[in-house]
């Protein structure tokens, strides 16, 4: 099996790795680049724990091949904070206790950030439908939705 050399940009850094074409972007981020923030919860695109953005588009990294990352711009949860400065979404998640075990949190943060980039003033229903592909088993989603709406409000004020 010949490995394919991939060069791509992740969280602003140019990186490269060798991938078996069968390996997913999720496998490559975690096992080759050490970015274990994205998680595999299902491998079938049903849980959203592996969410990243590729060229600004929210996707499940378990449904993208590593070799497809060639030349693309990828953002993961590790890129959301600005050094030690947390993003409002991250701060609000902690403040609202919007995480219990935390396994779904990276995927939800990536997804919520993508939502607010597209729609800075979503309704509760819009947030819920946008996040329908991010499963959480611990929280019942209540505090997550509150945290996203509160972060959106703060970001609108600061904008």
């Amino acid at each position: 099996m010949t490995l394919i050399h991939v060069t791509t940009t992740v969280n602003g850094d140019e990186v490269e790795f060798l991938a078996d074409p069968r390996e997913t972007l999720l496998d490559c981020l975690r096992d080759k680049l050490g970015l274990t923030g994205a998680k595999e919860g299902c491998g079938t695109g049903d849980c959203g724990a592996c969410s990243v953005t590729v060229d600004g588009r929210l996707v499940c990294s378990c449904l993208v091949l590593g070799v497809e990352a060639q030349g693309k711009t990828i953002e993961t949860v590790e890129g959301i904070a600005d050094g030690e400065k947390l993003h409002p979404l991250q701060r609000k998640f902690i403040e609202h206790a919007a995480l219990q075990c935390g396994i779904c949190t990276p995927g939800i943060l990536v997804a919520a950030k993508a939502l607010l980039a597209q729609n800075p003033d979503p309704t509760e229903e819009e947030v819920r439908y946008w996040l329908a592909g991010n499963l959480c088993r611990c929280t019942g989603y209540d505090k997550i939705i509150r945290a996203v709406l509160d972060a959106a409000a703060e970001m609108r004020e600061g904008a």
């Binding site: 099996m1 069968r22 996707v59 449904l63 091949l65 592909g133």
Partner: protein
């Protein structure tokens, strides 16, 4: 597994035609990668069509028909104001496939070629009269969407054939379409029943209609009797009842982990009524 990135559809077709093992085309990957992970399929050749020029384009031609590239994702379709205005039923069907993340990758053509009887985009495409262009070893041909699927996971595409684009006819005056599906939750389920209705009205009178059901037979079902119930009517209660009965009668569903025969049959009639009302309102509201 060999991973190919052809520069043209002819090249893609030639690779597939010459391959000896299992071949899959890769657009959004939201079916192929799931099947690879589940060991349902391990392609020997995976042909990625996303490097071919034009695959991400949405173009409205001079005659107002729509030309959609093979790798346009659901999220791009639902964001396209012109397409949504002309064919809301087609677009809302595609827009229901999977999560926001899946929408970032899933394509109309992938949804069609996967051959699931429950595919959400296919009833609306068929009701709209959509066609696909097929590139193969013997050249190119144009095929109606409803002539592609033949059964669960199966299509009429021959070895080496690949779909290179999808086309929607001009909407024309007084047209409106809608797609509804039944799922047990609010999102993230495969359709238990799907129903697309495409109408044209002159005033309040329906002059043209197509009703297509999904998830109630091995392929979509174009229900002629349901269309006949609508044509010439003003969507009065009698027409709706005949419509619903025709939709239920056309079902050949199975009992499975998503629904029973009785349930699918009943709900097909319910959805036909509801989708017809939405399509009718859209048709009458259209300029």
């Amino acid at each position: 597994m060999r991973y190919h990135t052809p520069a043209t559809f002819e090249e893609a077709s030639a690779i597939a035609a010459g391959a000896t093992g299992v071949t899959r085309f890769l657009a959004g990957g939201t079916d192929v990668l799931v099947q690879m992970r589940a060991d349902i399929v391990t392609p020997d050749d995976l042909i990625d069509i996303k490097h071919i020029p034009g695959v991400k384009d949405i173009v409205q031609e001079d005659d107002k028909c729509w030309s959609i590239g093979a790798a346009v994702a659901g999220a791009e379709l639902t964001a396209h104001a012109g397409l949504c205005a002309d064919w809301p039923g087609v677009i809302e069907g595609m827009g229901l496939v999977g999560s926001t993340q899946v929408q970032g990758r899933a394509t109309l053509i992938g949804n069609l070629c996967n051959g699931s009887p429950a595919a959400d985009s296919v009833p609306g495409l068929a009701a709209a009269g959509a066609e696909v262009s097929v590139v193969g070893p013997k050249g190119a041909r144009q095929v109606k969407v409803e002539d592609i699927p033949t059964g669960p996971g199966r299509t009429t595409l021959a070895k080496g054939e690949v779909i290179s684009g999808i086309y929607l006819p001009p909407r024309g005056k007084g047209g409106g379409d809608a797609y509804l599906r039944f799922i047990p939750r609010t999102e993230m389920d495969i359709a238990v029943v799907g129903c697309a209705v495409n109408l044209r009205v002159v005033g309040d009178k329906i002059t043209e209609a197509r009703v297509v059901l999904g998830a109630v037979a091995p392929t979509i079902v174009v229900v002629e009797d349901a269309a006949k119930a609508l044509i010439g009517s003003t969507l009065d209660e009698a027409a709706l009842e005949t419509l619903a009965a025709a939709a239920s009668a056309a079902c050949k569903p199975i009992n499975d982990k998503r629904g029973t025969i009785a349930f699918r049959t009943d709900v097909a009639g319910v959805l036909a009524r509801r989708a017809a009302k939405i399509a009718y309102d859209r048709a009458r509201g259209a300029k």
